[in-house]
Chain length 346, copies 2
Amino acid sequence: MPVETIRWSDGQLTIIDQTQLPGTHTRITLANIDDVWGAIKQLKVRGAPAIGVCAAFGVVVALKARVNDLQNVAAATQEAADYLATSRPTAVNLFWALDRMRRRAESLPPSSTCEEGLAALEKEAVAIFEEDRALCRAIGEHGAALIEEGAGILTHCNAGALATSDYGTALATMYVAADRGRQFHVYADETRPLLQGARLTAWELTDAGIPVTVICDNMAAQVMREGRISMVIVGADRIAANGDVANKIGTYGLAVLAKAHGIPFYVAAPSSTFDLSIQSGEDIPIEQRDAEEVRNGFGRRTAPEAADVYNPAFDVTPAELIAGIVTEHGILIPPYTESIQRHLAE
Amino acid sequence: MPVETIRWSDGQLTIIDQTQLPGTHTRITLANIDDVWGAIKQLKVRGAPAIGVCAAFGVVVALKARVNDLQNVAAATQEAADYLATSRPTAVNLFWALDRMRRRAESLPPSSTCEEGLAALEKEAVAIFEEDRALCRAIGEHGAALIEEGAGILTHCNAGALATSDYGTALATMYVAADRGRQFHVYADETRPLLQGARLTAWELTDAGIPVTVICDNMAAQVMREGRISMVIVGADRIAANGDVANKIGTYGLAVLAKAHGIPFYVAAPSSTFDLSIQSGEDIPIEQRDAEEVRNGFGRRTAPEAADVYNPAFDVTPAELIAGIVTEHGILIPPYTESIQRHLAE
């Protein structure tokens, strides 16, 4: 079983403080809305699904704190949601979850009491949480079939329990395979500049008892050449209508290397990741991040200030390099333009 | 002009303390043999050619310190060389340079005075230094022809001035091209785990006024895809008889990516790097380095202690991925088994 990134128990919201990983495993209580806002802002909780779930519970935490002088549940929900939305201004899942809480509050019957309103909103947050859990499990169930006994699996960044409410996406396939008694070995790219692979993926797999070896990003080709890798599986930020996948920088290079070594390359993501308004990866702009992440990422200067830095946040892997896309409904295979359309129409 | 990594001036040996880079550019004096031993041991000076040159001058420094009670120059040279050889027990160039100093001392005429002996040994150290400079320049002269106006050049690790007495190997091609007025842009892989690309290559090119952009290793594929790279050039640790090249980990992956993007991949190294006793790269054992370099490389834990780490020091790039090998005599092209034999027979 992987770690519980977010826990809602006895009306209390607790999370693992991911800024302390991998050094210390600390569970912190988010006792009020400012705690929730700060936790999202400071990346104590990260990963699109996890942020959405945390924010939904954040609304409940805010309402509970005001339960004694709560006049208008809908207005209080709006206020809390507006505030929480400012914690990470570009996080799509955050807005989606907060909008859902707003709509639930607006749909309360006028006659309902504060207690009834609060109960309904708590139920909605729990539903968002449970739906994310179910998505993770379904992705895991489908993807686990890809993992053969004795497999060597390379993954990049963190598409795991720490990014979601449960099994994650790419890592869900591994948790389910492990649940089924399958033996395999994971190689985790450390994933510069922010090291999510080394800090988070290696930590959560180790914690769950799944054997994992950390490598530097530039060692992937060598471990492939040595025959240690039988499949690559990664998450996705966004998938275009033609199956091109935007994901953490370094993903594209891995896909090219996998192809050169005859290793299948898979993507695992919920259906909500498909964006049919985007025809192909060429239409996805590449976000540039701060040079200091590369020059000074460990509290120590590792490159001269005078040198330029190029720090794209992600890259686009063309569909032709992808053997399959695992979603909660099954495994899509090429040609993706057809299989994605069919999949979303179902 | 690149930095002077090692300077011998008025009988004084000074070096750039590379452990302080890229933060601080400090030139330190190695005033006695213990200073020289410590500088090599603590990687204040690194790079095979630079270590050899520094050790040769170290013998002279040791003799000068004892000039007033120097009875036997040959015996004192042996003693100094034996001690300096313990500073980095696996550095082939170190032993080679010290052996040359020993042989020079042994070949002194019995009638020579201490002053004459000392002068002869200083001359030998200067010769080692000058020969290394000449090698660098010759590699640079040949390789510069590969750099076209407006080129985008990707390099890995540090095969530059900081590793040699002068222009370096891979970077020598750039220094000479810049001397000839050619405009181009360098991308330096940061080169995990020890970051020689970010710390050293970016620093020395910036210092020499050559435009350089640092990227994380996992960004190489993306910068190639964006059309920013027109050639890749790297150094070499060892080249087998068939042209397979052992070099810093990550080199092989770059060569595969370069091929996938139709970008020529070059190696620059002195002829002494060819090892005809090795038929192919398969016979080169891959040295494993300490896991802590990856887990804890910046004075901060970046991966859990419980996770395994795989940390190969280098990899082998097969000859078929290499467009040319630049040496002090010219540019070798495939088939390498023939061109290397011919080259070494000349």
